[in-house]
């Protein structure tokens, strides 16, 4: 067991919402829970009763029948609360005593511009935008695509889209043209909401080229709404509908917003796997809302006194996650720009100045600060900051000590889940101590276990699976009408269980340590990239015959990883510097900067299985010096020996 970083303070624990909910469950079930582990044990055993009690306790705005809780008990098929209806946006913007005139969202740009909206102002803006959408004929089932910066107007557009029952799907401006197209062309959106430019390190960059391509290649697009008033060259060539015009037709008052079925699609997020085009995961309004509310209120202790800043773009699921914090009255800060502009400590200064109470970030950013030798405590006192949430990659033990010594002694919550469930499997907990390097617990009500060499286990190291139904699984993949692709992706490996693709260690004390991906998906600073996207770009280059992209532990970043691309080149071609740069450039331009590997290495051959498939798993095992589970199934094991001996691919030590 790793050392305790933050011991449990019983008195403080008893003031938490999780404690109050536990007492509620005790009263309702006439059961005594000695602590979180017993509560969790009951919640997974009787998950239908748990979700019913949670919904009742949460006072989220729903109508209809809360029974049945699930349509069926089969994990692969269960739908939650088929008799309920709700409005996601209404739940986020509802007024509670004294909330209306408190700040709801604060937008900050790297140039220091600041826009703060109260809940009343945010609601009014959403009502105007929703009226505009309605007049354009956008309604239930339609898709609204968005290329947006992380700004308050993106929040408004998203909540208005949800208010009229359409699906919102956003990417960040940095994403490359081909990657944006491969996503939005599948969705056939009716409307595009976009900024026309973005700024990186003080430099304005136009999005007009990408917008023109989208208009040309996605014929379903009827309208393009410009969220900003950028004036780049060629703007006149695109028939933008300025946001101000969209909003000039009055308001669709919140009372008039429809309520939609619990499983009505709300967000489309993209998850690219090891093969094929990125999957368009449709997440339901109810599942997203109740799961986020549970994670925010019970696990993260968010409430109306909190001010959350999660450092994310609108293209990462953490954007959707932090947005939902509005439902518990928490103010959210959205930041548009570079964290180190105009000074290296710009983001830290903003957090200090804004008096953020909960800072969400990645282990990579914290590691970068540490490497830079820039103690945040020298930037400011962070007087109100009490919690740091970290996700995207593994926050290793020593980082806890660095945060305590050089940042501030705050609660550290290492959380992990992903796009596929728009939430977390492991996260923080006010009723448990914090151990270095570990997530405190498994998410309440989720029966998370591991598949080990000995089979399905509650504890130990193995592949993360969830064996009971949970409401935030996707309601489907857009375009996958039969559900075959969805089931193939998540339920085919171990029938009846959700297979997430992570390796994890679950301790007997209930804590968890994520160890990395168990499948071929690449995790680049928290952004999941399917190797298929990499292959489609590099294999289009005439010199490249075969390629395999895998993750490897980063030599200088404990807990971090780097992407390695192995290529087999056509007859006689050698990987010189010029070709290496050209491959990187293709990946950067047609994918995104995250698609660019840290290392590209030429090999004579890649390992091939008996069935003729390239084996990413064998390459991964060799690069991590792990015993090969399937060497016998590799037709050309000498290829693995050559990879193991490659000077550019060896790990130190």
């Amino acid at each position: 067991m790793p050392r305790v970083y933050w011991p449990l303070d019983e008195a403080q624990a008893q003031t938490s919402a999780l404690y109050a909910f536990m007492q509620h469950c005790e009263r309702e079930t006439h059961t005594r829970f000695s602590g979180y582990l017993e509560l969790q044990s009951w919640a997974v055993r009787d998950y239908e009763r748990f979700w019913q009690l949670f919904l009742d306790w949460s006072r989220l705005g729903v109508t209809g029948a809360a029974a049945p809780v699930v349509s069926e008990r089969d994990c692969a098929k269960a739908r939650f609360f088929p008799g309920l209806r709700l409005s996601y946006s209404k739940n986020l913007l509802r007024g509670s005593a004294g909330w209306d005139d408190r700040p709801a969202v604060t937008g900050i740009t790297e140039a220091g511009e600041r826009l703060r909206m109260t809940r009343r102002e945010l609601r009014a803006a959403v009502e105007r935008f929703a009226m505009g959408l309605t007049r354009l004929g956008v309604g239930p089932g339609d898709r609204v695509a968005a290329v947006v910066r992380n700004t308050p107007e993106a929040v408004v557009a998203c909540l208005a889209t949800a208010a009229v029952g359409a699906m919102w799907s956003s990417v960040a401006p940095e994403m490359g043209e081909a990657a944006v197209l491969s996503r939005f062309s599948q969705l056939q959106p009716k409307l595009l909401c976009t900024h026309t430019e973005y700024t990186v390190h003080g430099v304005r960059r136009s999005l007009l080229g990408r917008i023109r391509t989208l208009i040309g290649d996605v014929p379903s697009l009827k309208t393009v709404v410009a969220l900003d008033s950028g004036s780049g060259d060629g703007k006149a060539e695109v028939a933008f509908l300025p946001r101000a015009e969209l909003e000039q037709h009055g308001a669709l008052a919140m009372d008039e917003w429809g309520e939609f079925p619990f499983n009505h699609p709300l967000f489309v997020l993209f998850s690219s796997g090891t093969t094929g085009a990125p999957k368009c995961l449709m997440h339901g309004a109810g599942g997203t809302l109740v799961e986020h509310y549970k994670e925010h209120v019970l696990h993260s202790s968010f409430g109306p006194r909190e001010k959350l800043f999660f450092h994310t773009s609108a293209g990462w699921m953490m954007w959707n996650w932090q947005l939902s914090a509005l439902a518990c009255g928490t103010e959210i800060v959205v930041f548009d720009g570079s964290p180190t502009y105009p000074t290296q400590d710009a983001l830290l200064r903003m957090i200090d100045r804004e008096q953020v109470t909960v800072f969400g970030t990645s282990a990579t950013y914290l590691h970068a600060l540490q490497q830079l030798g820039m103690p945040p405590k020298e930037v400011g006192a962070f007087a109100r900051l009490h919690t740091i949430q970290s996700t995207g990659s593994i926050l290793y033990d020593a980082q806890y000590d660095w945060i305590e010594r050089d940042f501030k002694r705050v609660r550290i919550q290492s959380i992990s889940g992903g796009t596929d469930i728009i939430g977390c499997f492991v996260l923080g907990n006010p009723l448990l101590p914090i151990h270095r390097g570990e997530s405190q617990c498994v998410s309440l009500g989720m029966d998370v276990r591991v598949i080990t060499a000995q089979g399905l286990r509650r504890h130990g190291e193995g592949e993360l699976v969830c064996v009971n139904p949970f409401p935030s699984r996707p309601v489907g993949i857009f375009g996958d009408d039969s559900g075959a692709r969805f089931h193939q992706t998540y339920f085919s490996q171990y029938p009846g269980m959700w297979t997430h693709g992570d390796q994890v260690t679950l301790s007997e004390q209930g804590s968890a340590r994520i160890l990395g991906r168990s499948d071929g998906t690449l995790n680049v600073r928290g952004v999941r990239i399917g190797p298929a996207e990499i292959y489609s770009i590099v294999l289009a280059m005439p010199e490249v015959l075969q390629a395999v992209a895998v993750e490897q532990a980063a030599p200088r970043e404990p807990g971090g990883s780097r992407m390695v691309l192995l290529v087999v080149l056509r007859g006689g071609t050698s990987l010189d510097r010029a070709l290496t740069l050209r491959i990187k450039k293709e990946l950067s331009q047609k994918g995104s900067p995250a698609h660019v590997p840290a290392v590209i290495a030429q090999v004579a051959a890649l390992p091939v299985t008996d069935s003729g498939k390239l084996s990413e798993k064998a390459v991964r095992d060799v690069l991590h010096r792990r015993p090969l589970s399937n060497r016998a199934a590799i037709k050309n094991p000498e290829a693995l020996d050559a990879i193991a001996a490659h000077p550019d691919l060896r790990l130190p030590g």
């Binding site: 990186v200 390190h201 430099v203 180190t340 290296q344 490497q371 030798g373 450039k585």
Partner: protein, 89 residues
């Protein structure tokens, strides 16, 4: 050819501009990295570590200012004046 200058250009090519660094500089070694998008937010962190590793120098974190690092010319002047810096190491 100044090996320090070349090493920084190669590093920028390898990590960010993939062969276009010289074109971005346009013959002006005093061009601001920040104002012209030549280096991204976390890029400076990597650059500092690269310089320390490659040239066996120690860069005082208090010196990480625009005056010292915001252009190729500034970096070359700053690093080559550090104690212990030797060309070609």
């Amino acid at each position: 050819m100044n090996p320090l200058r070349q090493a920084v250009v190669d590093w920028l090519d390898d990590n960010f501009h993939f062969g276009d660094t010289e074109a971005l500089l346009g013959g002006d070694d005093e061009k601001s990295f920040l104002r012209n998008g030549i280096l991204d937010s976390l890029g400076f962190v990597k650059l500092i570590l690269f310089l320390e590793d490659t040239f066996r120098v120690r860069i005082n974190r208090k010196d990480l200012t625009r005056e010292n690092f915001d252009s190729l010319g500034k970096i070359v002047r700053y690093v080559s004046a550090l104690p212990g810096y030797r060309e070609g190491t």
